[in-house]
């Protein structure tokens, strides 16, 4: 009975574990999911032999636990660090009362690292990690929300907060009526849900420009993720293929003189919530960037947007009708270097959903 590094031959078993006991789906996992797991843990630029993902293997029983991980290169005040991200912790239900999860987590965090993080912890894994010395980082746990179609968003909110499948079905039935109500509301002048054509001009964000933008607009921060063209290309390619969150839209924004002022990346899913991956640009253009994003999302039929806010931009998000919550996955971190933790806690990190585990979600 042992915790060991994930091997390529384990992939079908861990995909099945994930499919049956994390996503709670019946039957075997699809070939596409198996191939995705292989890609995530053996082909990704964010894997490393010394930070391999872990399995809990019982002789004659097989793999009963899995803890996936990735490694990101980051900079703290210009000094390179390696950040270990943990995610996808899944244990077979028959072994949940035992030591499988603690041993996987202990082995994972027992390795030498500069910073260990997770950005999508649920309440249970947050508590486990806090007991193991991880700290919650308030500045990285503020999620913004912006309803675009208020009636549909309200119904979505009720269905989610009630956690009821019946209400979920009722919400689907009520969707046409809600759409009509939202359409009427959007015609009322001076309505915060009426979007006019934004003043910035948009075009598709290519990889090279995206990389240059991240380098340019991280000035003033002291912690940020490092990418090469190859690693960013791999990541964007993977995210584009993960369509369970919708279609990935990558937009570059320019002013009337064709000067770049910002960009955004989000998943657009008509009739659903759009998950925003990254927003960047000049701080004094944040409101214009948001205007463009909201307008674009509404054109795509998105009923509301969710994302993680950079604390420095909170007032602008608030001015643009966003509200905030901690619901959306917890970011907790641990580091042997107190100054790294202090910088994260002070909101001194230029980090987004692109820079962790969230964007590597295998989905459904």
């Amino acid at each position: 009975m042992a915790v060991r590094a994930l091997a390529e031959g384990d992939i079908p078993q861990i995909a099945a574990l994930y499919w049956n006991f994390m996503r709670l789906r019946k039957g075997p996992p699809s070939a596409a999911l198996i191939s995705l797991f292989h890609e995530l843990y053996f082909e990704s630029p964010f894997t490393s032999n010394d930070f391999a993902s872990l399995v809990y293997d019982i002789p004659d029983r097989g793999i009963v636990g899995f803890l996936g991980g990735s490694v990101r290169e980051m900079s703290v005040c210009g000094r390179p660090i390696r950040v270990m991200f943990g995610g996808n912790l899944v244990v077979h239900p028959e072994y949940r009362s035992g030591l499988v999860a603690p041993r996987l987590v202990n082995t994972f965090i027992g390795r030498k690292f500069d910073l260990a993080m997770t950005d999508s912890a649920n309440n249970i894994s947050k508590h486990i990690l806090q007991r193991m010395g991880y700290n919650e980082i308030p500045a990285l746990n503020i999620h913004w929300r912006r309803p675009l179609s208020p009636v549909q968003y309200g119904i979505y909110g009720v269905a989610v907060s009630a956690n009821s499948s019946l209400l979920g079905k009722m919400a689907r039935v009520a969707r046409p009526i809600c759409s009509v109500a939202d359409a009427i509301a959007s015609r009322v002048p001076a309505n915060p849900f009426r979007y006019s054509r934004p003043r910035l001009q948009s075009k598709d964000l290519d990889l090279e420009t995206h990389l240059n933008c991240m380098i340019e607009f991280r000035k003033g921060y002291s912690v940020w993720a490092e990418y090469s063209l190859d690693s960013l290309g791999w990541l964007i390619n993977l995210m584009e293929r993960q369509t369970f969150r919708g279609t990935l839209r990558r937009i570059l924004l320019q002013d009337k003189n064709q000067k770049i002022v910002g960009w955004y990346i989000y998943y657009a899913k008509p009739g659903a919530i759009g998950e925003v991956v990254q927003i960047g640009g000049y701080p004094n253009s944040t409101k214009d960037i948001l205007d463009h994003l909201f307008w674009d999302a509404q054109q795509q039929g998105v009923i509301g947007l969710h994302g993680v806010v950079d604390t420095r931009r909170i007032p602008d998000f608030s001015d643009k009708g966003c509200f905030f919550t901690c619901r959306g996955g917890w970011t907790v971190a641990s580091s042997p270097y107190p100054e790294v933790m202090q910088r994260l806690e002070r909101g001194d990190a230029f980090l987004s959903r692109l820079d962790g585990e969230w964007c590597l979600d295998p989905g459904e």
Binding site: P138, A139, V158, S164, T311, F324, C326, G347
Partner: protein
């Protein structure tokens, strides 16, 4: 520009200006308002002869502009500092086209203090203050909101944007429907809207205990408000007399062993929003303290509660079904000491009790 420190003889003029152009009320200001202004500007323990409220005097000798000033003592890493808090900025409409507001702001904050703070700025004041070197500190601008009765809360929100007669009519007419809708909400979303009592035991919070609590539970922070018993007593009494926000409830909470777990202070107003002044106590018991507060407010008939968030407790507030917004008055700061500004970013225990918000003159 004839800007000078406020004199006692200016009080009637300042009161009229406030009444007509900040509160937008008709007629002359009630006499009790003059005594509140006098108390605040000339009798409060937070006045300081070296830092004074400022007025703008028109050519006719009348007061045409005003900005209040109070001084608070704080500790920054154990070192005593003085804060000047400006508020109630008002300029007669005939003089708004010029730079009177700018000059008033400059005059009040040019006085000697370690830190200049405004904690209830509206959008206009925010713009003026930004032009004067003030900046918004995001961590001091997160307000939490907890809906207790969703239908009543919604109607209350709508009524705020309507005029007085429509607002009253709307509240009365919608009462039965709201009651029914809120009962349904409590059945559908039990965790959010079916409130239960907390295991903590409550008693009335007095000034002396509050002072001890504040000293005990500020550990781990670097910047906090300093009080003595008379100043805290004065403040609590002043707040209790300001009934526009509701009845002031001051509750001390103890665990089963009689040990102090925490406290809260808020204004309870049935059918409206309860404004929370301060929530404090053992960080590990924040959720229990909130359970008690929400249940207490619900029993008082409050539709929802609003307050200023202490960032370190954000996760617990979120777990207890609060959401957050920056709407509720902007806190802006200016200082020539960069280390103080750094402390404000992450290390400050600053509540509505510690600034200008709790000294609002009201209607």
């Amino acid at each position: 520009m004839p800007i000078r420190p406020l004199k006692e003889a200016d009080i009637p003029g300042v009161t009229d200006l406030y009444w007509s152009y900040l509160r937008r009320r008709n007629g002359t200001a009630p006499p009790r308002l003059q005594s509140v202004f006098r108390e605040l500007c000339f009798e409060s323990p937070f006045r300081d002869n070296s830092i004074r409220a400022q007025v703008f005097e028109g050519e006719d000798g009348q007061v045409r502009g005003f900005i209040g000033a109070i001084v608070r003592k704080m500790s920054a890493c154990g070192r005593p500092i003085r804060l000047v808090l400006g508020g109630n900025l008002v300029v007669h409409p005939d003089f708004r086209a010029g730079r009177v507001a700018q000059h008033l702001v400059e005059a009040v904050f040019a006085q000697d203090a370690d830190l200049a703070v405004v904690d209830s700025a509206n959008e206009i004041a925010r713009r003026i203050l930004s032009q004067n070197g003030f900046r918004v500190v995001p961590t001091l601008n997160m307000h939490w909101r907890r809906v207790l009765r969703p239908a009543h809360y919604g109607v209350y929100g709508l009524s705020l944007s309507a005029g007085q007669p429509i607002s009253t009519g709307l509240k009365i007419a919608s009462k039965p429907v709201c009651w029914l809708a809120d009962s349904i909400a409590a059945g559908v979303s039990r965790r959010a809207f079916r409130l239960k009592p907390s295991f903590l035991q409550e008693s009335e919070l007095d000034a002396e205990t509050l002072l001890q609590c504040m000293v005990e539970f500020r550990k781990g922070y670097s910047l906090w408000g300093e009080y003595d018993r008379p100043s805290l007593q004065w403040l609590l009494e002043f707040m209790a007399r300001r009934t526009a926000r509701g009845a002031l409830r001051k509750v001390l909470l103890r665990d089963d062993d009689g040990k102090i777990a925490g406290w809260y202070i808020y204004y309870a107003k049935p059918g409206a929003v309860g404004e929370v002044v301060q929530v404090g106590g053992d960080p590990t018991l924040t959720k229990d303290i909130l359970d008690h507060l929400f249940y207490d407010a619900w029993k008082q008939g409050v539709a929802g509660v609003h307050g200023l968030l202490e960032m370190r407790r954000m996760a617990d507030f979120s777990d207890k079904h609060c959401f957050f917004t920056c709407r509720g008055g902007w806190t802006m700061v200016r200082s020539r000491h960069p280390e103080l500004l750094n402390l404000l970013d992450a290390d400050t225990l600053f509540t509505r009790l510690d600034g200008e918000w709790c000294l609002d003159i009201g209607d």
